[in-house]
C-alpha cells in the first residue's frame, strides 16, 4: 500500500469533482447577491470548502472561516425563546438532566442551579414533550441568561471582528447542508438577514426568524430527506468524514485579557483529526482537481458527481485501504458517538 499517492488520487476523484462543482456554482450564485457580501465557511466542513473557494475566487469576494457549532449556539442562545424551536424540537429520549447536558452542554453543576433534582430525573421524549420543555426553560430563563450571556457577548464581539455582525455586510454562509440550523440561529443572534448556500438542503427558501430572514439556497439538491434514496444525502457520512478541520467540535470561546483576540476551545478529536496529515493528502488531491477544473473550464455536472459518489460509497474495493480509517466521524447531535460509515453501510 502506497498511502500518500493512494490518498491523493482518491481525493482527486472522490472529493475533487464534488468540491469543484460546489464552488463553481457558489461563485455564480454569489454574483447574484449584494455587493457588500462576505462569505463565511462554517466549521468544520468549511475548512476544506474555504480552500476550494480560494482556488476559484481568490480575491473577488472576501471570506473567512467561522468557528461555530450547533451545540455552542444552542447553549449561548438557550435563554432566547425564538431559538427553542431549533434547539429543543430535535428528537431525544431520556431524563431532563441528560437533555440539558446533551443539547446545551450544561455541566451537572450548572444543571443543579437551573432545575431541582426531582425535575432533573423526569423523563421526556422529544419532540412530543416540546411544550413541556419550553415551560421548564421559561421558568429558569433568567438563571440560564446569567450562565450563557457572558459567552454570547464574547461570541458577538468575535462575529463583529469578522464583519459578520457589521450592519453593512451581507453574510453568506457556506456548508454541506442540510436544514440550515446554524444559519437560522446566527440570523436570530445577529438580528439581520443571513444567506446560506449549501450542497444539499432539506428545504430551499426564506425562513423568517425574529423579524429577519434566513435565505437558504442549494447547489446539488433540495427537498430530500435522509433515507429517502438520494445517495449523496443518505451516504453523506462519507463526505462529512473527509470534510473536516484538524480540530474537534467548537465548544467555547474565551476573550484574551490583553489583546483583542480570542481563544477557541475544541472538543475531542476523531481518528482523522489526530492523523490529519492523511486527510490533508486527500484534500490536496481534491484541491488539485478543483484547480485543474477551474483552469481548464471543466464543469462536472450533477449527474457526474452523483455517479462518482455512488460508485465509491457502494463498492468497498473502490475505496483504497489507506482511506478506510479516515471514515470515522463523531455525530454529537444524535449522541451516537463515533460512527464509521464503512461498517454502518455494511461495506
Amino acid at each position: 500500500m502506497l498511502k500518500n499517492i493512494s490518498l491523493y488520487d482518491f481525493g482527486y476523484n472522490f472529493l475533487g469533482p464534488v468540491l469543484s462543482r460546489y464552488v463553481s456554482v457558489v461563485s455564480e450564485k454569489l454574483s447574484q447577491l449584494p455587493e457588500n457580501k462576505k462569505v463565511f465557511h462554517l466549521a468544520r466542513e468549511g475548512y476544506a470548502l474555504e480552500k476550494a473557494f480560494d482556488h476559484v475566487m481568490p480575491n473577488n469576494v472576501p471570506s473567512a472561516y467561522l468557528n461555530v457549532s450547533r451545540v455552542f449556539l444552542f447553549r449561548i442562545m438557550a435563554d432566547v425563546d425564538a431559538s427553542w424551536p431549533l434547539s429543543v424540537k430535535h428528537g431525544f429520549s431520556g431524563t431532563l438532566a441528560q437533555f440539558l447536558h446533551a443539547r446545551f452542554a450544561f455541566s451537572q453543576q450548572e444543571i443543579d442551579t437551573l432545575v431541582s433534582g426531582e425535575q432533573q430525573e423526569k423523563t421526556l421524549v422529544l419532540p412530543d414533550d416540546y411544550n413541556n420543555v419550553c415551560s421548564i426553560l421559561k421558568a429558569c430563563q433568567h438563571k440560564i441568561r446569567e450562565l450563557v450571556k457572558p459567552t454570547r457577548d464574547v461570541y458577538l464581539r468575535y462575529l463583529d471582528t469578522l464583519g459578520f455582525a457589521h450592519h453593512d455586510v451581507t453574510p453568506v454562509v457556506l456548508d454541506v447542508g442540510y436544514s440550515g440550523t446554524i444559519q437560522k440561529l446566527l440570523t436570530l443572534l445577529v438580528e439581520k438577514e443571513v444567506h446560506g448556500i449549501y450542497m444539499i438542503t432539506t428545504q430551499t427558501g426564506s425562513v423568517a426568524l425574529g423579524g429577519n430572514n434566513a435565505h437558504i439556497d442549494h447547489v446539488f439538491k433540495t427537498d430530500v430527506k435522509m433515507g429517502g434514496g438520494y445517495t449523496l444525502l443518505d451516504r453523506s457520512m462519507f463526505l462529512e468524514a473527509l470534510l473536516t478541520a484538524p480540530n474537534g467540535q467548537f465548544v467555547d470561546i474565551i476573550e484574551d485579557g490583553n489583546t483583542n483576540t480570542f481563544h477557541f476551545c475544541y472538543g475531542k478529536k476523531t481518528y482523522t483529526q489526530e492523523n490529519f496529515s492523511d486527510l490533508d493528502t486527500v484534500l490536496s488531491g481534491a484541491l488539485s482537481c478543483v484547480e485543474h477544473a477551474h483552469n481548464h473550464h471543466i464543469h462536472y455536472s450533477l449527474n457526474d458527481i452523483e455517479t462518482l459518489f455512488a460508485a465509491y460509497v457502494t463498492q468497498r474495493n473502490l475505496l483504497p485501504r489507506a482511506s478506510w480509517p479516515l471514515f470515522v466521524f463523531d455525530d454529537a447531535i444524535s449522541g451516537e458517538g463515533n460512527v464509521n460509515p464503512l461498517s454502518f453501510f455494511g461495506l
Binding site: M1, S6, F10, N13, P17, H292, I298, A311, Q315, N317
Partner: protein, 638 residues
C-alpha cells in the same frame, strides 16, 4: 409437537450418519471445535440444512469445485489458489488444511471480501413458482454424465421436461431410459446430434422453437478437461452446483424468475479458477458482427457479462430471436474449432446482451457471499489482488517481464493520442497546419501507410512515421524528425509512474529477479529508456521494443523470440501486462506464464462507470485524470 418430533428425527439422522461416515464425523468435530466450520455462519449464507453434519458435508462436497466458505475463518478460494495441487487432486480444502496444510506451512486466510454486490435479490415464496413450465436441455458428449445428470434431476423441486442431444446412439438410449424413470420428469425428448455446433448447435437445430413453449429453460452440457493427466470436472461441477444441484439455489432461482418478470437469464458468476480475463471479448468481436447486424446488440465494451461455459437458466422469450430461427448443422462452423475465436465463442458471449436487448435483466449468484444480484460488477472479483499478493505471485519466477504502457507507466490524461494533439495545436500556432485534429489524423495515417508498405509485418518507428508524414506536410526529413522528437517529449511530459507497479519492479530486483520490459510501441529503445527513467525505474533491465527489434507481441513474433531466450537461459519466466490478447492470451498460447492486469479504461468500466468518448480536449482533460487515478493500481484491492 411436530417441531420436537422433527428435532428428534434430525438428531437421530445425524447420529446415524456420523456412525456410517466416521472420518467425515471426525473432521466435522475438529472443524466445529476450532470454529473453522461455523454452522450458523454457513446457514446464514447457504440456506437451511437438516442438521449440522449435513451442512458440513454440503460444504465438503462443494468446496472441491466451488468458492463457498465454511466460516469467516477460512477462505476456500484463497487456499485452493495458493495450493493448486490440492485443487487439481480434487481434495476437500478444509480437511486438507486441518490435517496437513497448516502443518506444512501452506498459505491460508480468513474470508477475503473480493466483491460485495451493490444490490441483493431475495427470493420470496409463492403459490405459483412450482407451476412454471420448465425445460431442462442437456447436451451429453461423455456417457458417464447421464448418471451424473440423473442424480441431480432426481432431486429437482418441480416437474420438468428433459431435452437431450446425445453425441452417440448409446448415450441417447441410456439417457432416454434413465431420465424416464425419474419421478419429477414428465417427458423426455432425445436425439443423436452431429459433431457440429458444440453444445449450442444441436439444441438449436432440434429443439429451439419448441423451447419457446416453456416458461423457463436450463441448458447444461457435459464438460471435462485434462490437466496433469487427470480428468478435471471442477468447472462443470461449479456450474452444475449453482444451476441444477444445490436445492437452495435452484428453488431461489425458480422463485426469483416467478416473482420478477424482468429477469431474463441467470447463471453463477464466472468460474473463479478461470483466467481473470475470461469475461473479455478477447478475439471474438469480429465473429459477433452478425449478432450486431441482426439483433442490434452493442458490443462496444471490452468486458462483458455472459454465462462462461455456456450453461445457464433463461426465460426462452428473452432469447426468442435466437430460438425462433430455423437452423441446420451447416449453419455452425465445422470441427476442429480453435480454442478461442469462433462464431460459437461469440454466441456464448452475446446471450446476456440478447436477453437485455429483449428488455430483460441478467442475474447472478455469487457463491462466496451466497447472494443473488443483478450487479454486473462481479467481474471485478476476478481482479481483486493486493500489491503484496501480486508481489508474492511474481517472486516465484527467475525472470519477471513487464509491459510498459498502462502496466508500469500511466499517462496523466490516459488518451494515447493527446501528445499528438498537443503537437498539432503547437503546429497550428506555428502555421504549419490549420487544424490540430486533422494533424493527428494525418500523423496516424502516415503510420498506417508505413505498416501497409511492410504488409503489417515487423513494426514501425515514430521516425519512420514522420518521414512518411513529411511528404504530406511538405517538410524535409530532418524537420520531420524534429517533430517526431517533439511528439515524444509531449508524451514524456505526461508520463507518470504506476507507483505500486514500479515499487514491485524495484522489490523484485532487490530479490535478485531479472527484470525484462517487453513493449509493442513505435518509440525507439532510447526513448523508452528515457520514459522508464522518468517514472523512476533506475535498475538494470533487458528491454525489448517492437519498433527496435521489429517483432511484436500481438503478432506472436515477440513471444517466439522471448521463449527461445528463456529456454536458452533455462530460467522460469512470467509476464505482466494489461492487454488481454497480446500480454495474456497470445503469450499463454506460447506456453509462457503471465498475469493479466487491468487497463485503466477497463478498470473504470468494470467499476461501473461509463466510458467517456475522449474525442475532445475538454473531455480528455476532464475524464483523463480520473481514469488515470482509478487505473493507477491495476487491480481492485488497492
Amino acid at each position: 409437537m411436530k417441531n420436537t418430533l422433527r428435532k428428534i428425527v434430525r438428531s437421530t439422522q445425524q447420529t446415524v450418519e456420523k456412525r456410517l461416515q466416521p472420518s467425515v464425523a471426525k473432521a466435522f468435530k475438529h472443524a466445529k471445535a476450532e470454529g473453522i466450520f461455523d454452522y450458523s455462519w454457513y446457514k446464514e449464507h447457504y440456506g437451511q440444512f437438516p442438521h449440522e453434519l449435513a451442512a458440513f458435508k454440503d460444504y465438503q462436497s462443494k468446496s472441491t469445485s466451488s468458492n463457498v466458505n465454511p466460516s469467516a475463518q477460512f477462505d476456500t478460494e484463497y487456499y485452493l489458489r495458493s495450493n493448486v495441487d490440492i485443487y487439481l487432486q480434487g481434495e476437500a480444502p478444509l480437511t486438507h488444511y486441518m490435517y496437513h496444510g497448516r502443518h506444512e506451512g501452506r498459505a491460508s486466510s480468513g474470508v477475503i471480501s473480493r466483491w460485495l454486490p451493490a444490490s441483493e435479490l431475495l427470493a420470496k415464496d409463492s403459490a405459483t413458482w412450482k407451476q412454471q413450465k420448465i425445460a431442462i436441455v442437456l447436451h451429453i458428449f461423455y456417457p458417464d454424465f447421464v448418471k451424473k445428470f440423473a442424480a441431480t434431476l432426481s432431486q429437482f423441486p418441480t416437474n420438468i421436461d428433459v431435452f437431450v442431444t446425445a453425441a452417440s446412439p448409446s448415450i441417447e438410449k441410456a439417457a432416454a431410459q434413465t431420465f424416464k424413470k425419474l419421478r419429477k420428469v414428465n417427458n423426455v425428448f432425445t436425439v443423436v446430434s452431429e459433431n457440429r455446433g458444440r453444445n449450442f448447435g444441436p439444441f438449436l437445430v432440434h429443439f429451439g422453437k419448441e423451447l419457446l413453449n416453456y416458461d423457463l429453460m436450463c441448458h447444461l452440457h457435459s464438460k471435462k478437461s485434462l490437466y496433469s493427466g487427470r480428468e478435471q470436472t471442477q468447472w462443470f461441477d461449479y456450474l452444475n452446483n449453482f444451476l441444477l444441484k444445490d436445492k437452495h439455489v435452484v428453488k431461489s432461482v425458480l422463485r426469483l424468475f416467478n416473482d420478477n418478470e424482468a429477469l431474463g437469464i441467470y447463471y453463477p458468476t464466472s468460474f473463479w479458477m478461470m483466467p481473470a480475463w475470461v469475461n473479455h471479448w478477447t478475439c471474438n468481436k469480429p465473429f459477433a458482427q452478425p449478432f450486431v447486424d441482426n439483433w442490434g446488440l452493442d458490443i462496444s465494451d471490452n468486458f462483458l457479462n455472459y454465462p462462461v461455459g455456456g450453461m445457464f437458466w433463461a426465460r426462452p422469450k428473452a432469447l426468442a430471436p435466437l430460438l425462433s430461427e430455423e437452423y441446420t448443422y451447416e449453419d455452425f462452423p465445422a470441427e476442429p474449432l480453435p480454442n478461442d475465436g469462433s462464431w460459437l465463442h461469440a454466441l456464448e458471449r452475446v446471450l446476456g446482451l440478447l436477453a437485455e436487448k429483449q428488455g430483460y435483466k441478467q442475474f447472478f449468484y455469487y457463491p462466496p457471499q451466497g447472494k443473488f444480484t443483478t450487479d454486473k460488477t462481479y467481474i471485478s472479483s476476478s481482479y481483486y489482488k493486493s500489491p503484496e499478493s501480486l508481489l508474492g505471485d511474481l517472486q516465484n519466477f527467475d525472470i519477471v517481464s513487464f509491459d510498459i504502457f498502462d502496466t508500469v507507466l500511466r499517462r496523466q490524461y490516459i488518451a494515447p493520442d493527446y501528445a499528438k494533439l498537443k503537437l498539432g495545436k503547437a503546429l497550428v500556432k506555428e502555421g504549419v497546419v490549420t487544424s490540430a485534429e486533422a494533424f493527428v489524423a494525418m500523423r496516424n495515417n502516415a503510420e498506417l501507410e508505413c505498416r501497409k508498405a511492410q504488409n503489417f509485418e515487423g513494426d514501425v518507428s515514430i521516425f519512420e512515421a514522420y518521414t512518411q508524414l513529411s511528404h504530406a506536410l511538405n517538410i524535409s526529413e530532418s524537420e520531420a524528425s524534429k517533430l517526431a522528437e517533439r511528439e515524444f517529449h509531449y508524451d514524456l511530459a505526461m508520463a507518470m509512474p504506476k507507483d505500486e507497479m514500479v515499487k514491485i519492479v524495484h522489490e523484485l530486483h532487490a530479490m535478485e529477479r531479472e527484470i525484462w520490459f517487453v513493449t509493442d510501441i513505435y518509440y525507439t529503445r532510447q526513448q523508452i529508456e528515457k520514459m522508464l527513467r522518468k517514472i523512476g525505474i533506475a535498475i538494470p533491465f533487458k528491454l525489448f521494443v517492437s519498433a527496435d527489434i521489429k517483432k511484436r507481441k500481438d503478432a506472436g513474433t515477440m513471444w517466439t523470440h522471448i521463449k527461445s531466450l528463456t529456454e536458452t537461459e533455462g530460467k522460469s519466466f512470467i509476464h505482466v501486462g494489461d492487454n488481454v490478447r497480446s500480454d495474456a492470451q497470445i503469450c499463454g498460447d506460447f506456453g509462457l506464464q503471465n498475469v493479466h492486469i487491468l487497463n485503466p479504461m477497463d478498470k473504470w468500466k468494470i467499476a461501473g462507470f461509463d466510458i467517456p468518448a475522449l474525442d475532445s480536449e475538454q473531455d480528455i482533460l476532464k475524464w483523463g485524470p480520473l481514469i488515470s487515478n482509478v487505473g493507477r493500481y491495476p487491480f481492485f484491492g488497492e
